[in-house]
Symmetry: C3
Subunit: 137 residues, 3 copies
């Protein structure tokens, strides 16, 4: 093989790290306020992103709920039906188990069909390290 051929083989490949147009759209949305206005805003944000990018086929979304925001995902939450709609639409919605422990909440206290992560903040950090955008409404 010639050096020229080797150089051709080494042409840069598309990389998510370079933010190219072909990279998968991915965003984590943080909810950490005890404020139903913020809960609705987070859910609006998720819906707008999906509407704009072709639904769950066009974008991966995860709403990470922790700290004072945890009420958003408790059974009887004022946004329960909207959370159910988001889940049906392919948005991942996860509660922080550290926060739940501190507030003596167990899975049975929470909305059905949601997911769980050990530590909400760690989840937000890991997702960003994996190239997900961060949105805090």
């Amino acid at each position: 093989m010639s050096v020229a051929a080797a150089l051709t083989l080494l042409a840069p490949l598309p990389s998510t790290a370079q933010g190219g147009g072909e990279a998968r759209n991915k965003a984590v949305i943080q909810v950490s306020d005890a404020d139903p206005v913020k809960w609705n805003l987070a859910l609006n944000n998720a819906k707008n992103v999906q509407d704009d990018l072709g639904g769950s086929d066009g974008v991966d979304l995860e709403i990470v709920v922790y700290g004072p925001g945890i009420g958003m995902l408790k059974a009887g939450s004022p946004v329960a039906s909207r959370v159910a709609d988001a889940l049906k639409g392919g948005v991942k919605v996860v509660a922080c188990e550290n926060t739940m422990k501190a507030q003596r909440l167990v899975h049975a206290d929470m909305l059905p069909a949601i997911g769980y992560v050990g530590a909400g903040v760690v989840e937000l950090m890991k997702k960003q390290q994996q190239g997900w955008a961060y949105i805090r409404p």
Copy 2:
């Protein structure tokens, strides 16, 4: 060409993805609160970043205004003159047209010289994918 010469040609180029010191400084600043204190803080943040990095030659800044924050960019906004100063200084300031539609606002209702994006949240996501830092005052 020798292999050694080929290797020299292939020495890594500066890449924004690697966060090296030579990468262009770029940040999106989010405004999504209906709170003039936050609007002033966002404008202060933009000014401080420019002052520190040599003005618009040293850093690309874009303020993305959406949701409950949209009042910042309506005609008659309490920060109208500061927004005009930011625009003159080379800061891009954009309003979310999704939010405007929901509030029945048209371009004529807004401050002059600002820009527009279809969905503020999508803009924030895309910019991060392209290597822009995210600041939410």
Copy 3:
């Protein structure tokens, strides 16, 4: 050296920009609200991340305090002892000197052992460019 050997030498190295599992965990935590609830939340977040990832050996954390948040780091702050604990635990805590100037604060007015940066927002931007995740409690 053969072209094949050259290609081997050029195999991609692990890169923090690719968010691989081996990348060092790093996060900046922003405090810019004049709200002790947020100050405690930021300190809780830092503690939870360290607990989850093996202390300061497992993760680099920096809390950047600026704007209306600066009271968190003034002598006599209601969270002074928690800030001291975070510093002892290896969390970096830095105050924005731009903010301090605007409020006529000098180093002697601040908590001991903290660090300083010229502009908090620039610090948040630079850290993200270097691959740090961003958390705004």
